[in-house]
Symmetry: C2
Subunit: 237 residues, 2 copies
């Protein structure tokens, strides 16, 4: 979904734009539940059963599910209702490679066109991410890290003028995030996540597009490799 352009400080964590309608609220709630794995891949979504959980009527919930269909988080088969979209390693590989292509292209544009304000925003986003990464080792700050990681990636390509590229990337990012949540995420500890981000940040600030895109590609692909799906959730159909 393409939204109207938000006011100035685009990448503030606070400004998330309240949902204005019940459809929107249900859409977001459902999306979170799917991305964060509380609804399993392939699970049937019976409108009559779950409309009470979200406190909306049938038609409203239906519309929210329709919207999720466009994000490929929900699939609908003709007159047989809705299901949570299935997952597969094949799909994950596709998401990853498509994302590498789009995000590297966007990064190149961003590096070429970014001005002082972009550098400042990037520095700020990197700083916040760094703090979150320090905290990540300790307690339960995963959500905050997830948010700041997303914003860092968004700011990296913020100076790219292509709205369509950004739109597609946002869809793919949500997809990838879902796979990350579904995976057992044990292997993450072994990665030097912060070093990857730091090198990427340095290359971008130095306007070294070749190095930056190479690092970004590796970074995204490593995320893929750290995901090993639980066999139970790989059932395609």
């Amino acid at each position: 979904m393409l939204h109207t352009s938000p006011p100035y400080p685009v990448h503030q964590e606070t400004q998330v734009a309240e949902p204005k309608t019940l459809v929107e609220a249900a859409y977001r709630s459902l999306r979170r539940n799917i991305i964060e794995g509380r609804l399993s891949p392939g699970e049937k979504l019976r409108i009559e059963h779950i409309k009470n959980d979200y406190g909306v009527g049938g038609a409203t919930l239906r519309e929210a599910l329709s919207l999720l269909t466009s994000d490929a988080l929900v699939v609908s088969q003709g007159q047989r209702g809705f299901r949570v979209a299935p997952v597969s390693l094949e799909d994950l590989a596709d998401i990853t490679e498509t994302r590498v292509m789009l995000e590297c292209s966007a990064l190149r544009h961003s590096i070429a066109l970014g001005d002082d304000a972009w550098e400042a925003e990037l520095t700020a986003a990197f700083h916040r991410l760094t703090r979150a990464e320090e905290r990540l080792a300790e307690g339960n700050h995963r959500e905050q890290w997830e948010e700041r990681n997303r914003i860092f990636h968004e700011v990296l390509i913020a100076a790219c003028p292509s709205r369509w590229t950004k739109h597609f990337l946002s869809i793919l990012y949500h997809q990838a995030e879902r796979y990350r949540h579904l995976s057992l995420r044990r292997s993450e500890g072994t990665r030097r996540l912060h070093d990857e981000h730091a090198a990427l940040f340095e290359a971008a600030m130095a306007r070294d597009a070749d190095t930056a895109t190479r690092l970004l590609g590796e970074h995204i692909r490593l995320t893929l490799q750290s995901v090993r799906l639980d066999n139970a959730s790989t059932a395609s159909h």
Copy 2:
């Protein structure tokens, strides 16, 4: 009438899969009306007024409009209803460049991976397009040409394994089609459309990826240049 999943030749013109629900029917009808310019950019879509035109209830039409939002053919602002998405030269340029990137990448994969069956399908699609181009000069065969042109482009990249790339391309193709319809389309006569397609076809069959992607990029960009928006419909908002 039970149809088993479509048999081999996927890109037949006849098999378009009937809409199974009213939402789907309304969605397609609306999409055609927007793409083919019968609904003007920026026009307000009042549910109460147009639900009779499509013979559906309010909630159903609403859901169809929501779906079009995801294709960026309709925009919705909070509690202020729906509008036909605005157009701009800037947006068209973005669509074109994003499409060039994705479609060239897909073509490269397709050329690398396509087998005999792909060559056969491509030959057939090119042949049908050629016939349609011969007829185009004469009478009112524009719709047929539009259809076969789309299929030719689809078959070109059919051997590319990335579902996501194809999905995004299909969205962009619809967008570009809309701009083509909105333009005054006078300059099209001057183009050697068939020569472009023929050269592209030859390069693909010869597995010359560099030439093919170069030609494809030029081809798509030329389409952009042949589009000059009527100033009246360029009002952004």
